[in-house]
């Protein structure tokens, strides 16, 4: 190949060469970090909740007139009965929160009443015997709650459940290598017995700071007598949209003294999910847009500079043709030249990418960039360069040899 003379030529065109190499380097640094962030967000987004989401909808109900604890007890029972009678509804239960609801209670759970000595964080969900069938949670060991185990608590009451259902991830942390069913665990100063283990149930939080225990949830057998209350409703197959339209009217017909927000009082789980991951999705889209724009600018820069160089070198291209260069020789000259600049750019860019990642790790607790992303970025940019340079290089290869004899 003609690498040495091409490098010699580039030495005489330092400004343009450096400009493009730097542009490639910066683009690589940003694009592979952006790709990494996108991929992480997408992985985050696709984390399963463990719920049978496609059949679920949630209702947030606010009571009017500040009812007492005792009032709410019967209001709740009436509402659940009303909901079960709505055509298309398979089941329903009342709870303080649900996966991706983004707010809720967090406890430490451990082997002793000592609060500072817990084994793991866990999200707390209040549930009754209908929670598992409604959510479609898969029981992998033990049993569901019985109706006689469900207690009632107010907003400020001390919580000391006798029985618990936990996720398999939490069970593994509490009792590694053993069955958790029948064992005792502490969420209060009194021990609770674990009666069941469900395969998976995500916490309400999508924040990456809580990602370490995103599958550590605990179901407690209580009806919480506060307002607002959430109802989770399971529709029969194919009935979700109809049920979503019917439930509000049914609840208002049974009791007018309530507020169910017309905007988001009734949400399908798909809407819950979209809302929970809105910022993740937004970030992914932003990163993707930035990447595309940067790549486009870099490609445009390469096209521009190469076109300029081809125009500037028409005469010497003609001379080369006159001296025996084939069209292909000229084409490969410009492709090679671009590749050399590109290689310089990606070498620098690789270092910059790792540097940027280190900075992001420090500032935003980002994970370490996997080398695969840098490699993917390198390949992308080199290919992009070759594609961008192709049109001007083809133009160069069409400069006729007679150009050598034309006076300037």
């Amino acid at each position: 190949m003609q690498i040495r003379p091409i490098l010699a030529t580039l030495k005489h065109h330092k400004a343009g060469t450096l400009l493009i190499a730097l542009q490639i380097a910066l683009t690589l640094a940003i694009v592979c970090n952006a790709l990494f962030i996108i991929h992480q967000r997408l992985a985050h987004l696709s984390q399963p909740t463990g719920l049978d989401e496609s059949h679920l909808l949630v209702i947030q109900n606010q009571w009017a007139n500040k009812p007492t604890k005792g009032d709410i007890s019967s209001l709740l029972a009436d509402d659940l009965a009303t909901l079960r009678k709505v055509p298309g509804v398979a089941n329903a239960y009342a709870t303080d929160g649900y996966p991706l609801s983004s707010g809720g209670i967090t406890y430490g759970i451990g082997h002793s009443p000592d609060k500072l000595n817990f084994v793991s964080n866990t999200a707390i969900y209040f549930a009754d015997e209908n929670a598992l069938p409604t959510l479609g949670l898969k029981l992998v060991a033990g049993r569901n709650f019985r109706s006689d185990e469900i207690g009632e608590i107010g907003g400020r009451d001390k919580i000391a459940p006798q029985v618990l259902i936990i996720t398999s991830e939490l069970a593994r942390r509490l009792f590694p290598g053993e069955s958790a069913v029948g064992k005792m665990a502490y969420v209060s100063d009194k021990p609770s017995i674990i009666i069941g283990v469900v395969e998976r149930m995500q916490t309400p939080y999508v924040d990456s700071a809580m990602a370490q225990w995103s599958d550590c949830s605990t179901l407690m057998p209580f009806h919480q007598l506060v307002t607002p209350t959430n109802y989770v409703v399971r529709a029969q197959p194919g009935q979700l949209d109809d049920v979503a339209k019917r439930v509000r009217a049914a609840l208002y017909a049974a009791n007018r003294l309530r507020v169910i927000s017309p905007e988001d009082g009734v949400k399908t789980f798909a809407q819950v999910r979209a809302q929970a991951y809105k910022s993740d999705r937004g970030m992914a889209i932003l990163m993707a847009s930035i990447s595309v724009i940067l790549l486009a600018i870099t490609a445009a820069g390469i096209v521009g500079l190469t076109s300029f160089w081809v125009g500037q070198r028409r005469k010497q291209i003609g001379v080369r043709r006159a001296l025996g260069a084939t069209r292909h020789d000229i084409l490969s000259y410009f492709l090679t030249e671009n590749l050399l600049i590109g290689v310089g750019g990606v070498l620098l860019g690789g270092v910059l990418a790792l540097g940027l990642n280190l900075w992001l790790m420090k500032q935003f607790e980002m994970a370490r960039l996997a080398p695969g992303y840098v490699l993917a970025g390198v390949v992308t940019l080199l290919l992009l360069g070759q594609c961008a340079v192709l049109a001007p290089a083809l133009r160069a290869s069409n400069v006729p040899p007679v150009e050598a004899t034309r006076s300037v």
Partner: protein, 240 residues
Amino acid sequence: MLKMTHLSKVYRTEVVETYALRDFNIDVKEGEFVAVTGPSGSGKTTFLTIAGLLETFTGGEYHLDGMEVSQLNDNARSKIRNEKIGFIFQAFNLIPDLNVFDNVEVPLRYRGMKTPERKERIMNALERVGLASRAKHYPAELSGGQQQRVAIARALAGSPRLLLADEPTGNLDTQMARGVLELLEEIHREGATIVMVTHDPELAARAQRNVHIIDGQVVDLAEDPRFHTAYTAAAGQVRG
């Protein structure tokens, strides 16, 4: 070596057709040193570019080294230019970004020659033109005469059988021009066929044979009436 019969070359633009060459006949034998003269715009450069396969022609026949060239494709033409023909241009046409060594190397690289052989040929060629010590210089650091000698070294390095020169001394002063001509004569003595376009009657006189082109045709100086008219007119001007 180089034989054109009834050759024509038409340049077509939107408005006009220019016959740069018409019914053009020439036969240059192997080992000849031919000087081509003629007024400006008569078609000398056109003849040379067609002879050197830099351009195609419109009609007629051209045999180069016994081969009819009009059927050759672009790659074959490149290969012949590279291996059989050496070019020397009026404007030197060195590549400004490359040093003297790399300039001379250009045609050899396109021949796919191995590095040691390339190096040897380049240094030999530069020694021939007396510029071996300037191998690392850039064209801009050399005088016009030196640049033209580099161009000659570049043409020589590939040992071409045919050397085509378009006013190789046109941009040089008399002394440098003489040096370049001596170099060409030496190359000719070693067996190369040379066709040189020149305006300079003194240089033309030193060639073995002179070919005169007027209006895109080769004319016999002694017989052509147009030459007489031109000559008479010029003589009249001098007298007046």
